[in-house]
């Protein structure tokens, strides 16, 4: 068993139910995730896709775990030529209530050796999770231009 490449933790002033909806409902995700709608019927084994405003699908994978409002896991990989040497890596979200806060832990593991997903992901998640926190706490997502988080090189 390889160890996770990333573990991100953020505390959000919300309820596990609201956070769960924000993580899974396309209407929510497009507000804080660079306009990306997540598309899936959320059954374990079903397909999982990231859909953009123009209808194109950038990333795809499968639902691995769906246990509301505690644990969500899915795999995905970018479908473009740049990432041809990558494989779908597993992202797991754990939600744990602590009083008025919910502790959200995201672990990401199973990247291809020498692939390009890893550096791209390490730039993406902090921005997405910060924006999610801001949206749930203030009603306003952070507007982060996509270009600002392009991975180096």
């Amino acid at each position: 068993m390889s160890k996770p490449e990333f573990v991100y933790v953020t505390y959000i002033e919300t309820t596990p139910e609201k956070l769960w909806e924000a993580l899974t409902a396309g209407d929510f995700t497009e507000r804080y995730w660079f306009g990306v709608r997540l598309r899936s019927d959320w059954k374990v084994g079903s397909s999982f896709e990231m859909v953009h405003g123009d209808g194109s699908v950038s990333d795809a994978g499968k639902v691995v775990e769906y246990d509301p409002p505690k644990r969500l896991a899915y795999t995905f990989v970018n479908l473009s030529e740049t990432y041809r040497n990558d494989i779908p890596a597993l992202a797991t979200f754990d939600l744990e209530p602590h009083g008025k806060l919910v502790k959200l832990t995201l672990t990401h593991e199973g990247f291809a050796e020498g692939g390009k997903m890893l550096p791209a992901i390490s730039q993406g998640w902090p921005a997405i999770l910060s924006s999610l926190k801001s949206m749930l706490e203030t009603g306003q997502p952070l507007e982060i231009p996509r270009a600002a988080i392009k991975p180096e090189g």
């Binding site: 160890k3 490449e5 573990v7 933790v9 902090p126 921005a127 910060s130 952070l142 982060i144 231009p145």
Partner: protein, 104 residues
Amino acid sequence: MDEVFKALADASRRSLLDRLHARNGQTLNELCEGLAMTRQAVTKHLAILEQANLVTTIRHGREKLHYLNPLPIHQIGERWIRKFERGKLAALGELKRQLEKRDE
């Protein structure tokens, strides 16, 4: 946020973050290797970093692994860096990096 600044206001703790930035997911033993700090001191610093949510740990088999959690630092950036400054700051950061690399 006070806890984040307090945790960062110490060179030893920043060096521990640097080590995790270079290689994420290390055990206490791995983190102690080659450091001029006692194991006890490293443990104490890690507890302060964990309290500030700059370091997070997971159980992996029998091991406890330490990860750099960049979210509090990202959120500090979001607070003071304006939307349109971001591109310029990234360019300046890259310029500094390139120029300083040549001197090595």
